[in-house]
Symmetry: C2
Subunit: 290 residues, 2 copies
């Protein structure tokens, strides 16, 4: 018995099959080209494995996640050329009889980290997974349920208290300028410093400014959800950066709520190699059978 | 068959019994004095009604809501003199055999509005209830579940983008200065204007500043939860104020997410006479029997 995973990104697709322990048995990746070509390639991949009994898709968005909606299973209006209004789930259902779960990329990653924590002896009943890369998004699980009723969360666009040393920076979000994404997404480094983030040393004050904003994202998550754990992934995030985030979080919280040891609360992904969404998909596919 | 409701506030207790339609059959209120005197008075009230089969308490806080915690059912560390570390639920359980539900005041109100919407023909599966009065808090329901895993939400203490005309105001929260509560709770009016809020006309620019912050609270709620409805109650809130909040919300959202008609999304309580928590308690008590 195998479970299928599609991690659908704007740049590449990662398809994999895994066993009941959510271990990868086989895996490929290919570039995201046209919807027809890309989705057919995914279908052809899973057709090789007769043992697949369920599949889960963690997709870039925005996507329609309300099962009652007419466009349930679609990628809706996306800046990714050619991919707006694409019936992703419908295409898969035309090709497979088994159950298929449909969610966001960050929900997939959140579920992977949640599943992994539970299966490695941690008592985690709620978890927030942020990705900070080209954009900023989060998947959130509370008491086993994904948050998001009328659609999936879009926490990348919350507003924040501005850092006093950053007031001259307008932010880069085309919709909101200085929302969370507009202040901390990867491309902000070039605008603020003229260098890519990977080339800006952790001693640069811009990382303190970044940490102040990311700590506010963690603080908002805490005050809304009181989660067991907040995971930060994505290209901008590193352990030395999270050290700064924890310091800023501690100052912002000012001992108002005890969340336990911050090294266990604000963390990098436990699943290595960008594998959180794949593990999450395996677990979500398996859950479809229950 | 009757259901009991205790709305436990720092100033007064409201006790009521209601029928299966969540209608009030009898109701009293009395001042919050010492824990022993106040809780005994509540117990004596419900002892009059033999038909009571379940009770729900919506309490001021902070309270311990994790059933697995040693102090489950306690009011924990509160500024209210004499009420810290009080085993509220335990006291009731010593006196009654029937099931007793225990939650926060704002969760009780949120559940009342949620129940009422569903029972008046509205398709509401998630709802946020903010109170803006002496303090600021919110109760949140997503897919029928209260948010809050390691404790109840504390969204009154999120940080916000400051209004450009309000930068000289430090905020009044003793923990965080300019968090949401520190910027919009009722007592901020005296500090900003020298007058009580009720004496500041809606034409005063301070109300635009207030609306900008409250709109950000609605925006954060939307981006985290994508709820069906956001309700604002409490002494600071009025329909003319919410008109300003909707305008500010629309500008902040900038058409990024369609939440439908704002008059149906950002609203005053549907249950009149500050009755939301009482109705919520009746419904939560009834749910205990399922």
């Amino acid at each position: 018995m195998l479970f299928g995973s599609i991690e659908a990104g704007g740049t590449k697709f990662v398809c994999a099959v895994g066993n009941a322990q959510c271990e990868v048995v086989d895996r490929i990746q290919f570039p995201t080209t046209t919807p027809t070509e890309t989705l057919q390639r995914a279908v052809a991949y899973f057709k090789q494995f007769e043992e697949v009994v369920a599949l889960s898709v963690a997709s870039f968005g925005p996507i329609e996640i309300r099962p009652s909606a007419a466009r349930y299973g679609y990628i809706t209006e996306t800046p990714k050329v050619g991919w707006s209004n694409i019936d992703f789930l419908g295409f898969l259902k035309q090709n497979f009889e088994f159950p298929i779960y449909w969610t966001t990329d960050v929900n997939g990653s959140a579920y992977g980290e949640y599943w992994f924590a539970q299966h490695t002896g941690h008592s985690v009943d709620s978890l927030v997974y942020f990705t900070i890369g080209t954009g900023v998004g989060a998947g959130m699980i509370s008491a086993g349920h994904f948050l998001g009723s009328q659609g999936h969360p879009e926490v990348g666009h919350v507003r924040l208290k501005r850092h006093p040393d950053d007031l001259a920076f307008d932010g880069i979000c085309p919709y909101h300028r200085d929302c969370l994404e507009g202040l901390v997404a990867g491309p902000t480094f070039e605008v603020r410093t003229g260098h890519k983030g990977m080339d800006v040393p952790m001693s640069d004050h811009v990382w303190d400014i970044m940490a102040y904003y990311v700590a506010q994202a963690a603080l908002q998550s805490t005050l809304f959800l009181r989660p067991t754990r907040i995971v930060f992934g994505g290209g901008v995030v590193s352990e030395p950066f999270l050290v700064k985030v924890r310091v800023a979080f501690h100052q912002l919280m000012n001992d108002y709520i005890d969340v336990g040891a911050l090294e266990d609360y604000i963390v990098m992904p436990s699943i290595t190699g960008n594998g959180s969404a794949t593990v999450g998909n395996f677990a979500l596919a398996a859950r479809q059978l229950d």
